[in-house]
């Protein structure tokens, strides 16, 4: 079941001088089982959009369909909790939500809130920790003593332990080093491919979108301007330039070379293929 937004608007502080329309008349379809990137400038409504998925924010107008639930403006939805278990939302800098004495307890906190027994919650927590690449030696340590990257893994495990079918991540790699970033993205790809999770990632990093995601949604002034597959979006840099986004290095390189008379077909999408295509053309001339 896909996720659908129908004429959704969201207004902060309505009826006060601070009124601010964060989303206006959003119509959107998010494919199930795919990894979708939500991109756009700061303040374009990305975070507001994704907070509708687990009903942290309720639409001011329109309706949101998530899994088997319909959340409509004006009606008070019941049992939000069960939805929050099915749609796991990881906030930016999630390491700041850790609070328990031990890593294991912290990760088990989510499942316990959803009524899972103590023993089962611990079991789920162990599994989730394994998924994020932290072995048993971490279980009894205090989450506050870990390094930044490890803390973030624990926080993400805390959401995975709830076993959600949709996982939403708001800038999950902000502040990580390049290696940490790639490892993190690989983890999400694995959750998507191996475990069939629908994944939504809010990000500014085009390299991540290009390398790891299936679909792209570009937000602008509270509206989705573009909703496309990654292949379509990065066919050349024209869409990026139009949206004032710096395209991934490979696309920039391809475009710069195209301008100088090189030709590439659509499937030149990694370094090896690009190098091959360049060498072929240069040798023909050389």
């Amino acid at each position: 079941m896909p996720i659908e937004f129908e004429h959704v608007s969201y207004i902060y502080s309505d009826g006060t001088p601070f009124r601010y329309v964060a989303l206006s008349d959003v119509n959107l379809n998010i494919e199930e089982g795919k990894m979708t990137a939500v991109i756009g400038r700061t303040g374009s409504g990305k975070s507001t959009l994704v907070q509708h998925l687990n009903a942290l924010l309720l639409p001011s107008e329109g309706k949101v369909k998530v899994l088997d639930r319909v959340i409509e403006a004006g009606s008070k939805p019941k049992q939000l909790k069960s939805l929050r278990g099915q749609v796991g939302l990881v906030f930016q800098f999630p390491e700041y939500q850790l609070f328990e004495e031990t890593v294991l307890k912290d990760v088990a906190f989510g499942p316990k809130n959803f009524g899972v027994s103590e023993a089962d919650a611990a079991e789920k927590a162990r599994k989730a920790l394994k998924l994020v690449g932290l072995d048993e030696s971490y279980e009894q340590r205090s989450p506050l003593e870990l390094s930044g990257g490890q803390k973030r893994r624990v926080a993400i495990a805390g959401i995975l332990a709830m076993d959600p079918s949709v996982i939403v991540l708001d800038e999950p790699t902000a502040g990580l080093d390049p290696q940490g970033t790639v490892d993190m993205m690989k983890l999400f790809r694995e959750l998507n491919k191996k475990h069939g999770k629908t994944i939504l990632i809010v990000t500014h990093d085009m390299e991540q979108v290009f390398t790891f995601c299936d679909n792209v949604i570009v937000m602008e002034n509270g509206k989705p301007r573009i909703s496309a597959t990654v292949g379509e979006f990065f066919k050349d840099s024209s869409l990026c330039r139009e949206m004032d986004i710096l395209p991934p290095a490979l696309i920039r390189m391809k475009d710069a070379l195209r301008e100088k008379g090189f030709r590439f077909d659509g499937n030149v999408n990694d370094m090896n293929a690009l190098a091959g295509a360049i060498v072929k053309q240069v040798k023909k001339h050389g």
Partner: protein
């Protein structure tokens, strides 16, 4: 947070906004003291007129002042009920069965309500027309004579201004943590006692951790830019008393003198 008016600065261009914060703070203190003299209805009437004049001069709407008072209304009503139950002197005004409301209960409540309303009007007049930072500067300057007896006026002012600077950030942070924990199934509105305690812990611990991180970053940033508590530094913002400021002080002092006269000599 958008609806709270009490204590909020309203940026307007008025003569009151331009007054020296020290003069405003001192005047406020003088008038607040004046309210506590039992000067009777005539006295309160005079103060009310004087404060109303300041409010009009500051271009604040009475609607705004009224909004600031609203949160107090419940408290005042509560006070009235207690007074009705306790005070049984004066003449009975209203009798319901065995229960009677006496005139002194009404009178006492009205006295307190009027004083409270006046106090809110006066403090709002200060906070709505003075930028928080100017307020701190004013406090710093007013406290500086006490430096000789060990009052760290500059440090107090720095503390207040940093607190003011970071309040919006901390509010944002709190809301973010609430949402993050709600996403983990925390229910802040219902649940058993143990669950409630965990819910509160899950907010407070992260809030503290992040506040400490902030404090550390801030301390580093301040130190790196050469700040050392207790060492001499110059000040960018300098306050200057002008004739209008002295006039305000004079007015406030006269008001106080008048109340003392009404209370004890009239």
């Amino acid at each position: 947070m958008g609806n709270i008016t009490l204590g909020r600065y309203i940026p307007l261009d008025s003569p009151v906004h331009k007054l020296d914060p020290r003069a405003k703070i001192m005047a406020m203190l003088l008038v607040l003291v004046a309210i506590f003299f039992p000067a009777g209805w005539l006295g309160y009437g005079i103060i009310f007129l004087a404060v109303s004049f300041m409010i009009i001069l500051s271009k604040l709407s009475f609607n705004f002042i009224w909004k600031s008072m609203k949160p107090m209304m419940f408290m005042m009503f509560f006070l009235f009920i207690i007074n009705c139950l306790v005070l049984k002197t004066g003449t009975p005004l209203l009798t319901i069965g065995k229960f009677a409301i006496y005139s002194d209960a009404v009178k006492q409540t009205l006295y307190i309500v009027v004083r409270l309303l006046l106090m809110i009007m006066i403090t709002t007049c200060l906070t709505a027309t003075t930028k928080p930072l100017d307020l701190t500067l004013g406090i710093e300057d007013l406290l500086s004579p006490f430096g000789k007896i060990g009052v760290p006026s500059h440090e107090i002012a720095m503390l207040i201004s940093i607190a003011l600077r970071f309040i919006p950030d901390l509010i944002d942070e709190t809301q973010r943590i609430i949402k993050a924990q709600e996403s983990r199934g925390v229910d802040l509105k219902e649940g058993k006692i143990m669950e409630r305690i965990m819910a509160v812990l899950s907010l407070i611990v992260p809030l503290f951790v992040s506040a400490f991180q902030r404090a550390e970053d801030l301390a580093n940033a301040m130190e790196a830019r050469g700040y050392a508590p207790g060492e001499p530094r110059t000040r960018y913002k300098v306050l200057k008393m002008r004739r209008s400021d002295w006039l305000l002080l004079l007015g406030a002092a006269l008001l106080l003198a008048g109340m003392i006269f009404l209370a004890f000599f009239a």
